[in-house]
């Protein structure tokens, strides 16, 4: 029910802050998405979409954080074997 899916903003239309909308690509499938809650979204950004509305812009740097953490975990493990 709280399912929300990331997609890429392909185009934006409209000026009115309540009805401004984007065409968002979900792995190639395009859907119209309301941008009222994410006015900072620009073409090329990834946004998190729930029931037709974008709820957040996805932060690419934060998205890397978990994989960075995993790399940090690998290092001491390698030393143990040395």
């Amino acid at each position: 029910m709280c399912l929300a899916v990331p997609g890429r903003v392909e185009s934006i239309r409209g000026e009115d802050p309540l009805t401004r909308a984007a065409k968002v690509s979900f792995g190639g499938a395009l859907k119209e998405v309301n941008l009222a809650f994410v006015p900072e979204a620009e073409v090329g950004d990834y946004v998190l979409v729930h029931v037709g509305c974008a709820l957040a812009r996805i932060d690419p740097e934060e998205a890397e954080r978990i994989f960075q953490l995993l790399e940090d975990l690998e290092e001491p493990a390698t030393e143990d074997h040395a």
Partner: protein, 360 residues
Amino acid sequence: MKYVDEYREKRPAQRLAEEIARSVTRPWTIMEVCGGQTHAIVKNGLDQLLPPEITLVHGPGCPVCVTPVELIDKAIAIASRPEAILCSFGDMLRVPGSSRDLFAAKSSGADVRIVYSPLVALQVARDNPGREVVFFAVGFETTAPANALAVYQARNEKLSNFSLLVSHVLVPPAMEAILSSPGNRVQGFLAAGHVCTVMGASEYELIASRHQVPIVITGFEPVDILAGILMCVRQLESRCSRVENQYSRVVRQEGNPRAQEIIREVFRVTDRKWRGIGEIPRSGLGLSDEYAEFDAERRFNLGDTSVEESAECLSGLVLQGLKKPSECPAFGTRCTPEHPLGATMVSSEGACAAYYRYRR
């Protein structure tokens, strides 16, 4: 798909599971709040990757499951009127009311339409000026902004044939209720990442300090969930009780201020009954006085009713993390997704349906 596929890869998931096993020294019980997380855990067998010390219990975060049977009956009553079009998310249609479900009402001629967004229901209202269009507004804080936006736009457009049947619930009061229950065994939480996308972290900081429990705001993919469990286990092992944010690519500390603003504009906090659990004070949203004309319960003058539920169904205990679905005597025999006794067997996010589907 970017931001999905990389979080489903095996190697990082296995690495995180190993790290959890390395970090744990004693038994811990952790609740994932959201039904979407429950589904991901059972579907991907994440619980089976964990060391035996970690017990995951499944929380009440399935709006379909906790919508009271009386509201389902009201939706059916509205849908059965010739002038009405009832629009709903698809997973509400099979939830049993006291005598039948919305799907049965649809088969016998009621105009019930499945929509993926309240904004689509709003368009149905624009396209059908001679009909009363009602959107069945269920959900947690994640869904509230979109539902509020639909009503706000309807008022702006002076659209008089659109209304909401509201059954909105809030996560923090349910977590408080679970922690305050005498039988509580939850020692740490994975908080629902998409609820926090809207609401931010501050409500959870109060709960973490009041009840001395770690709360990790967690995403929905396997790598997210295992990372959330690892963060929670590390806090438990070091006797910490902070709010941490695993899902930082999406969740900001303050949440989404614009989404919160429209929730405050359109809704007010109310007491709400949770199916299987009972009434929890200040645990839901209803339309504020200023938007009362968009309240379908008032518009259709639906009185309050009370329905007794199947005594055999343990869904209330399952939703509070007190029982596992497989501990219910009716599970998989008298209660199946085709013939559910309770809503946790209906919704794909209900714990019972997830256990049944993935054969636990």
